[in-house]
Symmetry: C2
Subunit: 338 residues, 2 copies
DNA sequence: CTGAAAGCGCTAACAT
DNA sequence: ATGTTAGCGCTTTCAG
């Protein structure tokens, strides 16, 4: 039924070896022979079978990118940058969204173990729940690069964004602007790296001698709606809050509506800082002050790291930290505090 | 080097057949035997090889979802809904972003041809450029479902959103509100379905006896920045425009900044309508009036369609059209025209 | 330059 | 309940 390279060879009256040669553009085939094979393949409607091919080659030229959440554009932006770079190494990328499910994340990690991809770049959400799997991946020497989570997996290749520093920069900026009642929204995902923002926030306060209050610190799920509800609650319960540092730009977008409904204007009555510098940050009504790091470079580094690991399995693990920078736009106003 | 199921069988002192049985949870293996095999597999560090498995089974239990653009959340939302539904059939989904490249799209279509996935759900951007490939897919009877583009490929399974109707509804709404100078931004992708919006826009005008002007009709690329520039240009050149129908919510988001910079307020000086009802539409500063169709249902239908095609290859092609509905929020105001 | 033959790791008829 | 055996479709030594 399905036509194999065997059929092509027979039909073209050449050996199997010659057929592969012609088809894969290898040398040592005469032009007319090659042409004949190619023609025959076409005529017969032959098409390569990736499984057979990958099985014998022992590789796939494919990479898996495991993302936590398909809604937040920052992940798409990073994935896109990884993809572009991976392309130059000859790899295609599959993007996989774990969508808040440890089981889904586990499934995707398995794609590394069962040879479906040659390497994995993962933005982990369930480092704890899937601890064994991550360990296995490492032990089996499956090329794996993590974005974040160095404390949890010190022996892996890891790219980290120094979110604590980001939190510090953001908060210091707000304090310098004169704000003394600064709210903070962090993600409820209990990953160490996520609370980094809070650490930076606390450190900045301490450094400036400004007291902090736990009532100003809240968390929410990763969905826009959840962020919106949490922020609305915070702003309602703590009317003194004049500035808000939001876990990421995505959730920060939900502040606009909450603020408006409570009769607060951004930036006049409420200063707002996000994190990530997603595209929307530039084009929302009041362009968002935020923390950024070059996402093209991040993607590039991540791709480089897996590819390097693939080529040199024995290379000692590499850990790179990216420092975010503050991008001042308009959402914190320019001037004095309320 | 790599441990195979063969090794496991030998080590457990059972036959190959029994080993597979145990491992794949098939019946006709005694408990202790099964346990022994599983233990041995674990001890030896055996892991299944997906290529070998898929090669012999002739299927992968995987679906490919080809998306035009990773930035626009509407695609993620649809993909996510497809994924959820496909899960219930036992399929995993790979999402693939063609990102405005016909070649990338072609690459992904090839995953269907080479057996990497059992079926393909594609939101096509390059139906023309990849015409041959689509035809091939159909001819080879690879399960394929398209979202949009029925004119181009009448013999395929297709789910269409009636964007013309959407354009009509949006424009009529604006006209009913009293607007007489309505701008429209459409995507520059020359797919038939995309210009549907414009058709609906024109039809609504005609029906109400309101003249249209080509100066009010512009197009832009799919990036936020491009939308922003196009809109800024339009609004600057045509100050009479009091309402804007935007190709999609994603691009509509860029209107907020453009309007603000030109001293126009939404909805007071500029009414705005989008398309898609992405999450952001609800939570932007002025919740967006838009066209919607249930994306959960859309994803569900798309998944059902491929799965059905996989199960019944001979089923006649199915074409389903979804009608968008107008969701009135706040971006068009409530009252009279300017 | 071309060909014969040996697998890659797994599943599944077909026995026993 | 378990074992034997023949491939799935392809690449790749190794000989000619």
């Amino acid at each position: 039924m399905t036509v194999t390279i065997h059929d092509v060879a027979r039909e073209a009256k050449v050996s199997l070896r010659t057929a592969t040669r012609a088809i894969n553009n290898e040398p040592h085939v005469r032009k007319p022979t090659r042409h004949l094979v190619l023609e025959t393949a076409k005529r017969l409607g032959w098409r390569p079978n990736s499984h057979a091919r990958n099985l014998v080659r022992g590789k796939t030229d494919r990479l898996g990118i495991v993302l936590p959440d398909s809604r937040n554009a920052v992940f798409s932006e990073i994935a896109s940058a990884i993809d572009v770079r991976a392309q130059t190494y000859g790899y295609n990328c599959f993007v996989l969204h774990s969508e808040g499910s440890a089981e889904r994340e586990a499934n995707f990690l398995n794609l590394g173990l069962d040879g479906s991809v040659d390497g994995l770049i993962v933005l982990p959400n369930f480092l704890e729940a899937n601890r064994d799997l991550y360990a296995r991946l490492l032990q089996e020497r499956i090329p794996l690069v993590l974005r974040g989570g160095p404390e949890a997996l010190p022996e892996a290749d890891i790219l980290t964004v120094d979110v604590e520093h980001g939190g510090y920069l953001a908060t210091r900026h707000l304090l310098n602007l004169g704000h003394r009642h600064i709210g903070i929204l962090v993600s409820e995902f209990a990953l160490g790296r996520l609370y980094g923002r809070l650490k930076g926030y606390l450190r900045a306060h301490e450094e400036m001698g400004v007291p902090t209050r736990s009532e100003y610190q809240i968390s929410s799920g990763h969905r826009l709606e959840e962020g919106y509800q949490a922020i609305r609650r915070l702003l309602t319960a703590q009317p003194k809050i004049s500035a808000l540092f939001c876990h990421n730009d995505f959730l920060a977008m939900s502040v606009f509506r909450a603020a408006r409904e409570l009769g607060k204007r951004i930036p006049d009555d409420l200063a707002l800082i996000g994190f990530d510098d997603i595209d929307f940050a530039k084009f929302c009504e009041v362009p968002l002050t935020t923390l950024t790091h070059p996402k093209e470079m991040e993607g590039q580094l991540l791709a480089d790291m897996v590819c390097q690991r693939i080529e040199q399995p024995d290379h000692p693990p590499q850990q790179i930290t990216l420092r975010p920078e503050l991008i001042i736009r308009e959402s914190c106003g320019y001037g004095a505090p309320p």
